[in-house]
Assembly symmetry: C4
Homo-oligomer: 332 residues x 4
């Protein structure tokens, strides 16, 4: 299976099958204490923030899904146009195929649809063990005028999928090397199983400036890969991993406790604005969202805009109504 | 939509739809320790108390529902006549429409049905940011010979409903101003999401004499407003707030711990006399009840009387059988 | 309704309706630690014990159900014959009717069926406030050659049932008076809502020698009384009390912790031998069982014997396999 | 019923009925912390280990099921051939029948199918109280060239099954005697209810070198025996024991905490490689698996190989992805 058709498969499976993690996202363990007397005008509750030195409308990142080469490209376009309309950042899916193959024919430059927002390049960190170089990273940045480069860590996905790139040795050193004097910030993310505080420490020591935890509780790639392979054996192999990973809220709380100054993106299983506000109060600077955007993106840019506007409105309401987060178990 | 037809809608939705909060009222976290040997004559278990300097038959307040202007008025009358029959206090719903519009034609003076019980006036505190004045509060009192004035805080309801009065800035100062030399006590309440200890502190500092927590666990106005607007978007926007708020029992326990001298009314999700007794043992002086009265009120005053008599009897039984409340988690 | 027909009603309801408490019996909070190497011959695991100075085959009491005057009497006889066959003690149900009315015609002396086992007389303690005297207690003992007198405390049942004897004032003093120089030991029990450590203290101070906790988790008399009255109002009144009471295991643990020397009977919701062994390890000397015996008793004495033999065998197995009980929450 | 036909019955019941314990295996109380950056090549994740001084492919033992005399023998052969193919150890089921009866006609020497792997002999420790001798243990070892001797402790099974050998007195001394100068290591195991730390201490003091906890959470022999006897009485007797026992994970954690140097085998309810890795991180050296192998073994050796290969692969993945185990309750 080529990377390209695998990508199409991924999207189809995520749209049509239950690929929801059997772990929660962890935010249910926290409660926002209601403030009946906000002493604010709701109109003054803003969501604007600065990300990658650029003003954006809300601390919401469209997380990596499409790499710009997918056949059809409807989803890619919807997401980009919506991001541009709303002025929120957009992260590319893995650009490996773009950089490795002669794919100019199918390449769809995101800047065509999203000239002004922050756009983030994306490659799998493990590719550095499979011939991928610093120069290709630079080319990825250049190609799309990227404002940052995301390296994704996906060891569980790699071991479950058919074309396995599973040599994760020595990556930290290579990430460290990449971080020195790279023209844009380096972000490291998972793909749905979370970053522990220990991994965060290593990444920070290596010079990573932003961590996107991409924790458990949303899209489960163990489920996606089991669905894609379709065999009973693959399903059986993957099934104990359907609840694998560190819930998103725990990642944020634990990393923020140890490294209060590192920029954190909370992603993995975020579906509404109340959890966004919880994530921000727990220490995240931004949140990311991928799987829940697929269905609206398949409809068109307006559906994505509407969906995200609801999230922004929920975030504003939650922010209006609460400034304090407590752990459920401490609260009772 | 005019205030009036909105009010009718509210009542219809509360009567016919599931508007129950997805939070519990919190009383399930407490246990009444059974006393097998009460050493009392059950006949001597009384529920009489004093509220607003008046003797009443039980510490039960009919919470704010109707404002005296509703078309039909059946519910209004049922509740008033029942309150008068039982000698328990009655709180008006928001009187804003009465005070703002020329509504003398439809105005139904509560004193016609309830000459002798404590009747409480009610206005939304946020109205002070929308032209409402101290004088109108005085007129509200005068109009119904009110024994107290309730100010309700409903920030979440306001942001979810169509005609939003969502400027909640500077209200504390205005409440403070109102409290000085006002002829009757000022009560502040929520409408189903609770008062935190921090909000309680601010209200007490401003001179508020009675706090009605109106916590989570009963009628959920997020559900009511979603039902009323009827659109999928409104439902999606409101849904993460279906479990919002501080459960009633937690409000009472936390405020009472910090401010043992403030008069507390426990309301929000109270449906039987065992929870009434728990509320009183946790520090409340009175309890309030709104949503569960709608169905009997729709039937007629006798149904309300019967319903409330059961609550009073349950309260007497619980009081007869237990004088000690413990936290479930400490008990085991 | 006469006492007699009420009694028949009680039995019919307990046989045919769901009268199970909505509380658990509390034993699920304790775990018996398995001993894989018991170092014993299972044949040597005995259940014999001494109760009321008499050797009995197992620490199992047939709890108070029938008072010897019931029409039909099938259940009464089954239980008595089974108790006699197995050599376990039998407690009469309330003997008030026997003692107050001219009921010699229907009186069925238990000693006819159970000449040699301990038989316990039973009256409601509250009857001391309704004309019942020490002399009648003595006559009760004499009538059936009772080995002990049980006083039951049932304040919740009394307030819920139609013919209410609900004056529970001053009972402690009367119990104290009865205890001095009474020819047989006085046992005090509840009827399914438990004895707290505070009540236990008062009873012990009054001279009571044995306490039968009769805690929550088995037959719920709130449900029985609601079923019997059959009206919606009675059901509504009683329903918050369907989970009322102190679970049996908690009663035992708490009373035993404070009063290690008092003889305790664990009853209320005991249905198998594993819970019997838990009860004994928690400090009980005996267990009692009522509701679960009705169905076999309705079949005949052999069904009761078979049922109880299973319990005894389960008790022997549990005793063989575990000598240590721990709290679940401490264990993990 | 002869031992032989009982054995067949056991297998049929385990294959066709729900014999799953109502206790969990306890591993759900522990979480493997995900490591997004393993810094290893997945290809380098090995499962080889040494067991009984022999190199084996994975720390997985095929637990005792068949004794080599079963009619049909299909399951026996499948398991042996699979173990040999995979190079993992195989434990015989109880060899008592082989050693007591003239069963040479039906005896199927495991070494025919599994010449090179570790094979473990198995007898019930309780047999030492029923005429079984040290010499017979030596003959068991010799007969199959066993690398170790497993003694199983099954007091609950014995009391529930029809032909009861239930004298468990004085076994520790006999185990102690057997352990001195026995030619192969002695392993003691349960059969699905676990070994407590106290029992472990006694066994270690007696000279036992390896303990297989065989805890609760998998095959429940209380259910098996109830199914086999088929009567309602047997079902009623056994049912409170359907959740009996110490969960496997708790056994491992508690014994390892007190005796960090004893070799532990984790078995009972292990069905996938994630729990295998948890068991190893909690202190086990090996894991054992019985019930879940029956269905594949009934199909044939290849099905067993495939099933176990999945477990090994899951173990490799879990080991690749996590090196840290935490208690859920400490983690939040
Ligand atoms: C269809 C699809 C494709 C994805 N492709 C990528 C990718 O190429 N690179 C990447 O870093 N993450 C990729 N992800 C992972 C997401 O960025 C995100 O981390 C993960 O889905 C968890 O977020 P969610 O619960 O909001 O979906 C993809 C997710 C989906 C649903
Ligand atoms: C139909 C309806 C109308 C209400 N109108 C008012 C109102 O006008 N003013 C107010 O302070 N609260 C109003 N409330 C809120 C109640 O007073 C109460 O705080 C809330 O419903 C929670 O109590 P409950 O769980 O017993 O319903 C209304 C409630 C209902 C059900
Ligand atoms: C039909 C029936 C009649 C009872 N009558 C009496 C009684 O007369 N006196 C008494 O002390 N308890 C009486 N009880 C209560 C029982 O003795 C016992 O305390 C209670 O049912 C809880 O035990 P259980 O869960 O095993 O049923 C009766 C119970 C039943 C089911
Ligand atoms: C059909 C069957 C037969 C068994 N026979 C034996 C036996 O002869 N000796 C023994 O020590 N354990 C025997 N066991 C118990 C297993 O070895 C194991 O300890 C128990 O089943 C728990 O592991 P599981 O949950 O993986 O099944 C048997 C188990 C099964 C399912």
């Amino acid at each position: 299976m080529t990377i390209n058709s695998r990508k199409d498969n991924h999207i189809a499976v995520c749209l049509n099958k239950n690929v929801q993690s059997e772990s929660t996202n962890g935010f249910e363990k926290y409660r926002l204490v209601h403030n009946a007397l906000p002493e604010t005008n709701f109109e003054d509750i803003k969501t604007e923030t600065v990300f990658l030195n650029q003003k954006i409308a809300a601390p919401i990142l469209i997380s990596s899904i499409t790499g710009g080469t997918e056949s059809g490209n409807r989803i890619n376009r919807s997401l980009l146009e919506a991001a541009n309309t709303l002025n929120i950042p957009f992260a590319m899916g893995s650009m490996r195929i773009l950089l490795e193959e002669d794919s100019h024919g199918i390449y769809d430059n995101p800047r065509k649809y999203a000239p002004s927002i922050p756009v983030l390049a994306n490659v799998g960190a493990v590719q550095f063990n499979y011939g991928f170089s610093r120069d290709q990273c630079l080319r990825a940045i250049e190609l799309i005028e990227a404002n940052a480069l995301i390296l994704h860590l996906n060891p569980l996905q790699e071991v479950l999928q058919s074309s396995k790139n599973t040599n994760f040795s020595g990556l930290l050193k290579k990430i460290d090397y990449l971080c020195s004097n790279f023209p844009v910030p380096i972000i490291v993310k998972e793909v749905g199983w979370g970053i522990s505080d220990v991994v965060a420490k290593n990444l920070i020591d290596a010079g990573v400036q932003i961590i996107d935890v991409a924790g458990a509780g949303g899209t489960s790639w163990a489920k996606v890969e089991a669905e894609i392979s379709g065999t009973e054996t693959a399903e059986q192999l993957a099934s104990p991993f359907f609840s694998w990973g560190i819930p998103t809220a725990q990642c944020i709380e634990q990393i923020h406790a140890r490294f209060p100054n590192i920029s954190l993106i909370a992603s993995g299983g975020i579906t509404h604005g109340v959890d966004i506000w919880k994530a921000l109060l727990l220490g995240a600077k931004m949140i990311g969202i991928a799987g829940p955007l697929l269905a609206p993106a398949n409809e068109g840019p307006q559906a994505v805009v509407s969906f995200l506007e609801i999230l922004v409105q929920q975030l504003r309401i939650a922010k209006f109504l609460s400034q304090t987060i407590v752990k459920e178990k401490d609260y009772d």
